[in-house]
Amino acid sequence: MSAVQEALPAVRGSRDATVRRFALTDSIFHGMTRAAAILVLVLLGGVAISLVAGSWQALSTFGFSFLTSESWNPVTEKFGALAPIYGTIITSAIAILIAVPLGIGIAIFLTELCPRPLRRPIGMAVELLAGIPSIIYGIWGLFVLAPFLQTTVQPFIINVFHGVPGLNGLFAGPPYGIGLLTSAMILAIMILPFITSITKDVFDTVPSVLKESAYGIGCTTWEVTRRVVIPYTRIGIMGGVMLALGRALGETMAVTFVIGNAHRISTSLFAPATTISATIANEFTEAVGDLYTSSLVALGLILFVITFLILAIARYMLMRIDARTGA
């Protein structure tokens, strides 16, 4: 309607002038949208360049040993990234171990078992978990989960595995409450919604003919899920898991609260530790000296490279699933 009104006054004027004006305004608008799209690319490039520039001093001072050294000493200005890298990888790995079975279970529940009227509200409730800011998980983990683990769960586990070789090193006291395992549990809750919603989405792409024929030859629900649905959606599930892993690796505030910020590598999962993002969040504003700041930016660069690779693989896998459903 308003397009007509736009065009009306123009009709009265010279046709050529109008066409020229239309072409001009259109190419201006076209250029603006194109510039904005290119800006998105520039942003990511800018992030990469600024991280490399900011970390140059640390990387040229320590060289490759930055990746392999465990020492982190602001007084002598000796910095190594091994402890935060270790903490980041261990917490994320445990979080994935906890969250993947739970997330797939919830997705199966939502697609196969849940009564139809309840599907939307339950699915929405799980997705709300993703909307809660990470600082809320942090404060909840520090004041609610950590004391609970410290007083009940951890002493019990330490006692049970006390005499078991191998496991007694993994679950060694004292029970601080905070530490690697607590962080991993919080991370697991935070990434659960991503795994659930992506798994649910790819489960919906399975053609119902496939499922019906499996049910037709007498398969149980579990057998249909295990033998038909999961093999068919394997790439999509892997993509979802990688996406969740990317989130877990970069998660900052929740982990900063409960990790304990200790720059050492301990075999015990109950020990305080640190991650890349928690180290940056805790120390950046207190860092004195250019080398200290530069080392923290170098940590950021390492995190950026790791998450970029993981997220790129995840997106590639999810794009393949999308391409198949689109075809």
């Binding site: 194109r34 809320i136 909840w140």
Partner: protein, 283 residues
């Protein structure tokens, strides 16, 4: 015969066990949400009073409120949205309208998806290198820029998705009456996709209003009232971070109250946003 019957029994049993586990998984997910919201209400409500909204953040040991932190959060969120939204909408428009099948769109979509899930602390470091270091001091405007960068990928994604849903027949009708392309986009495509684009903006507000990490070393924090955009500014998430980790009871209480305020705001925004698009899907 009996082996067939027992096989049938064991398959049924296995099915029962696995399906029970799935129900348990759903129960755990919902219980976790309930536990977190319950703790927030229990600890946060007791500190919720009018003074929270009318008084400044207190020195240790004193009573006070969160006024400067709430003000700072609102100011930086608004600037972030005002800066980030037009860029996001324009980029999404290019991808859906002008360059739907171009190579640039494929690349931008890929990069945008990565920006969407990139760790926000990295964005904080980027803005630190970009603005804080050259300017020589922390400032509210740097915090707002960091938030704007977080807004862009969310808006790009929803704008592109929603414009792609607009039927081509509508655009053809617009073109057929002689309207130039950008008028068709503005008057036809945007209008049809409006509720979806608004949803994206609401989700972006929900996301940045709880962000802490990128503000830690851009806007920093401020114990006092400040409306100077060129100076450090308090924000609710950073104040919560600082107060929760402090040993003072009054500060910890204020942190819980602040956490409750943020969570209720964010959840209300995302439920409202979902209900906007939800109604479209049901039709």
């Amino acid at each position: 015969m009996s082996t067939a019957a027992s096989l049938h029994q064991s398959r049924k049993r296995k099915n029962g066990v696995m399906m029970t586990l799935c129900v348990v998984a759903a129960g755990i997910g919902l219980a976790w949400l309930a536990l977190i919201l319950g703790a927030l209400l229990y600890k946060g409500l007791s500190g919720l009073s009018l003074s929270v909204f009318t008084e400044m953040t207190p020195p240790p040991g004193d009573a006070g409120g969160l006024l400067n932190a709430i003000y700072g959060s609102i100011v930086m969120t608004i600037i972030g949205i005002i800066v980030g939204t037009p860029i996001g909408v324009l980029a999404g428009t290019y991808m859906a309208e002008y360059g739907r099948f171009s190579k640039l769109t494929t690349v931008v979509r890929f990069i945008n998806d990565i920006l969407l899930s990139a760790p926000s602390i990295i964005i904080g470091l980027f803005v630190y290198e970009l603005m804080v270091r050259p300017m020589g001091h922390f400032s509210a405007i740097a915090g707002a820029v960091a938030l704007a960068i977080l807004v862009i990928p969310v808006v790009v994604r929803t704008t592109e998705d929603m414009l792609n849903l607009v039927p081509n027949a509508l655009r053809e009708a617009g073109t057929a009456i002689g309207a130039p392309r950008w008028v068709v986009i503005r008057s036809v495509a945007y209008r049809a996709a409006l509720s979806g684009i608004v949803t994206g903006i609401l989700l972006a507000i929900a996301r940045i209003s709880g962000e802490t990490a990128p503000l830690l070393f851009t806007a920093l924090n401020n114990q006092f009232w400040s409306s100077n955009l060129n100076a450090p500014m308090a924000s609710l998430p950073v104040t919560i971070f600082q107060f929760a980790l402090s040993p003072y009871e009054e500060w910890q209480q204020l942190a819980w109250t602040g956490a409750l305020i943020i969570t209720l705001t964010v959840l209300a925004l995302s439920i409202f946003a979902r209900s906007l698009t939800g109604r479209r899907e049901d039709k």
